[in-house]
């Protein structure tokens, strides 16, 4: 793919290929936006800001957040977990006709609901009470990722049926790595109908010949590590869950297809740091392999670009001269700060250009860091404007 490029090099501060956020939000074909990226880069804030902006531009939006900061959750009216979207107060949609609902994911509850919807009441109760299920549904490393996808699938199906929303914005869990989010559902569902589980099931329902010497050794060792009680719980769980495995697989598969569909746009959020950008690059590659469209990279909390056309060295030299002159320390201090900022901006720009060189097809939005924290709609609105490339003058 070719496209016009501005000058690439550590000196050029403009992004080569800016992401047109408003066009993405306004396009009626955009039905789902997934914000992903490694932990601590601002995915929740970005998703909420995008959702708010889309709503105020006329879309009927729901945003699914995961672990939002307390004050942000409060200001959106979603600090109580009830696992259903609630209208957000204070959104200015009178002119645009849009609307914004928000919810915070309750992972265990989502899992429980899936079990309840798939099994007969007695069977569901049996599963929900099983200690192994309780541990699995509240602390397995991939459960949150899996349930986020499950919830997305549900909201999407409901929205289809009832015409409730025309845009769903999804935040993703604070995974160790950005890729967990794609891999965990697969991990969990392949566990649920995996080889080992079937082995566990075999003694319960199959002919004894399946109890090979190998398996005996395995259960033996497992008993040593986990204890007999845990194994028994697992076996009961597996037996009860047996008929549900297929359903789970199918649901995961469907959500995966939803992610691959044309209306789904992935935004990768990253901090302007080597690790975060490296992670983002893996993610872009991985999504590409899975036929999922990457709409763009959001470089969040970048150092704000500086006005003035002097270099860091010139600023430092001037600061020194001022001090020698015995002049006002304030201006000297400001020049030193300015030099510092210039160096940061330069370094971040370089990192970004490296990313661009490797992934020229991925458009980029740079969001400068705000001075304060974002915890209300005004702050989200400001982030939304920055995402769309508006800069305060």
């Amino acid at each position: 793919m070719t496209r016009p490029r501005s000058r690439v090099g550590p000196q050029s501060l403009d992004g080569g290929h800016p992401l047109d956020v408003d066009r993405l939000l306004d396009d009626p074909a955009t039905g789902i936006i997934v914000c992903c990226g490694s932990g601590g880069v601002g995915k929740t804030t970005t998703s909420a800001a995008l959702a708010l902006r889309a709503a105020e531009r006329g879309r009927t939006v729901v945003v699914l957040t995961i672990d939002p900061a307390r004050r942000l959750a409060q200001s959106m009216g979603i600090e109580v977990l009830d696992n259903t979207p609630r209208p957000v107060a204070g959104v200015s949609t009178t002119a645009s006709g849009g609307s914004l609902d928000a919810m915070m994911l309750d992972m265990k509850r989502t899992f429980d609901e899936v079990v309840e919807s798939q099994a007969s009441p007695e069977k569901a109760q049996q599963i929900l009470r099983n200690p192994f299920y309780i541990a699995l549904s509240s602390s397995f490393a991939g459960t949150q990722e899996y349930m986020a996808m499950e919830k997305l699938g549900q909201i999407h199906a409901d929205a289809r049926r009832d015409g409730t929303y025309d845009l769903i914005v999804v935040d993703t869990p604070p995974s160790r790595s950005a890729l967990d989010f794609l891999d965990a559902p697969e991990r969990l569902s392949s566990f649920l109908d995996g080889r080992f589980i079937r082995l566990l099931l075999a003694p319960a329902k199959g002919p004894a010949r399946l109890m090979s010497a190998g398996l005996g050794m395995v259960t033996n060792a497992l008993t040593k590590v986990l204890g007999a009680q845990v194994l028994r719980d697992m076996q009961t769980f597996v037996a009860a869950f047996d008929t549900l495995f297929g359903g789970f697989r199918q649901r995961a598969q469907k959500t995966f297809e939803l992610l691959q569909a044309d209306g789904t746009a992935f935004l990768v959020v990253a901090a302007p740091e080597p690790d975060a950008l490296r992670e983002a690059a893996y993610f872009v590659e991985r999504l590409g392999e899975d036929d999922m469209p990457v709409a763009g990279l959001v470089v969040n909390r970048a150092s704000p670009e500086q006005h003035g056309d002097i270099t860091a060295e010139e600023a430092m030299a001037a600061a020194q001269r001022l001090r020698k002159d015995g002049a006002d320390s304030l201006t000297a201090g400001l020049l030193r700060l300015h030099a510092d900022h210039m160096r940061m901006v330069e370094r971040e720009t370089l990192l970004r250009h490296r990313f661009e060189a490797a992934h020229p097809q991925v458009p980029i939005a740079v969001v400068p860091a705000l001075a304060g924290d974002v915890h209300d709609l005004a702050g989200l609105r400001q982030v939304g404007a920055l995402l769309a490339g508006e800069r305060p003058t």
């Binding site: 932990g39 601590g40 900061a69 307390r70 200690p131 192994f132 309780i134 541990a135 699995l136 509240s138 602390s139 490393a141 604070p174 160790r176 790595s177 566990f191 995996g194 080992f196 082995l199 190998g214 398996l215 050794m217 395995v218 060792a221 497992l222 590590v225 986990l226 204890g227 009680q229 845990v230 901090a271 740091e273 080597p274 690790d275 500086q306 006005h307 003035g308 056309d309 002097i310 010139e314 001037a318 001269r321 001022l322 002159d325 002049a327 320390s329 304030l330 201006t331 201090g333 400001l334 020049l335 030193r336 700060l337 300015h338 510092d340 900022h341 160096r343 940061m344 001075a371 924290d373």
Partner: protein, 335 residues
């Protein structure tokens, strides 16, 4: 020489909100603790090969590797030796089984049936016990163990605050499964080390609202579980080139563009209205950020634990940067 402020501590656990600099601080601390004639072990458990990246070496195996020389002493004395260990749960499980049960062939069968993966990624709590168990073993070693190095200090780059109680195995509900099995004995000895005076859990934060809040919550949680809270390391502190007096002046609107232009003129930076505007905006911005930082610093001071500050290194953190941070931690007494 052990940590000045924590002379009894052999195991330093470093946690904090994601992305605040846990790995960086853990590495700096290990370098700082490795004074003349000592051996320090830096452990990571999240499978990310962060240590290899920071120290610019090949990805680490499940084995202790010498990776750096500690920070030299003030007297010019040569630094001690820093070793690194990348603990992964699969290897830890196989090692555990072979150590305690002489499994032999069964170990391989476990792998074949996907049990190793199962037990380490699925069974909640077990994974953490395996990871911490290895750290425990390295910390408790003594001279009787001929083939292994005895460490003067072990530094653990731990999971973030949100998962630390679960990781350290003290969160009863979540650790349920691991708590019932025979692995429970292992878990119990590990927990008793964590709760002893030989351990300190340090928290890394930056001066922003959410990380500081998470630090406060984390300390409360650690204390509720009887885990020894060490210090708070305030990382990535922005440069303070403007004094308090200047900040007050900026906030009071006493800084004028005319005055700025005149100062710039004096040093020959003439004619750039844009630069004047830029510096002016930066001044206001900086004053606002500093006020927010000071408010957060006040909250950190109220946490009633020793605090340490590390600057934001403008060029990012390379190996030289890690030594710089190590020096600062030693100066301030954490190392």
């Amino acid at each position: 020489m052990p940590s000045r402020d924590f002379p009894q501590v052999r195991l330093h656990i470093v946690t904090g909100k994601g992305g605040t600099g846990k790995s960086t601080v853990a590495a700096g601390l290990a370098l700082g603790l490795a004074s003349t004639g000592t051996h320090v072990l830096l452990c990571e458990v999240e499978g990310r090969q962060g240590i290899a990246r920071m120290f610019d070496v090949e990805p680490l195996p499940y084995a202790e590797r010498r990776i750096a020389t500690g920070l030299p002493g003030a007297d010019g004395g040569r630094g001690g030796i820093v070793h690194a260990l990348h603990v992964d749960p699969e290897s830890a499980l196989l090692e555990y089984l072979s150590m305690y049960y002489k499994l032999g062939r069964a170990g391989k069968a476990l792998d074949r049936f996907g049990v190793v993966e199962f037990a380490t990624t699925i069974a909640p709590g077990v994974r953490d016990v395996l990871l911490t168990g290895k750290v425990y073993e390295a910390t408790k070693r003594n001279a009787r163990n001929k083939h292994a190095i005895t460490y003067d200090a072990v530094v653990l780059d731990a999971p973030p605050t949100g998962r630390i109680a679960q990781f350290l195995g003290v969160n009863q509900e979540l650790a349920g499964l691991a708590r019932m099995g025979p692995i429970k004995n292992q878990a119990d000895s590990v927990t008793s080390l964590f709760r002893s005076g030989r351990t300190a859990v340090h928290l890394v934060t930056v001066l922003e609202e959410m990380p500081v809040q998470e630090t406060a919550d984390g300390i409360a949680q650690l204390r509720a579980h009887d885990l020894p809270v060490g210090g708070v390391i305030v990382n990535q502190v922005r440069p303070r080139d403007l004094g308090e007096k200047d900040l007050v002046a900026v906030r009071a609107g006493k800084l004028t563009k005319r005055k700025l232009a005149a100062d710039l003129n004096r040093v020959g930076l003439t004619g750039s209205a844009e630069l004047v505007l830029g510096l002016f905006t930066e001044a206001c911005d900086h004053a606002e950020r500093r006020a927010l930082e000071d408010a957060q610093r006040g909250l950190v001071a109220g946490l009633d634990v020793p605090t340490y500050e590390l600057p934001r290194l403008v060029g990012g953190v390379d190996l030289g940067g890690l030594y710089e941070l190590a020096g600062l931690l030693r100066e301030q007494g954490l190392a």
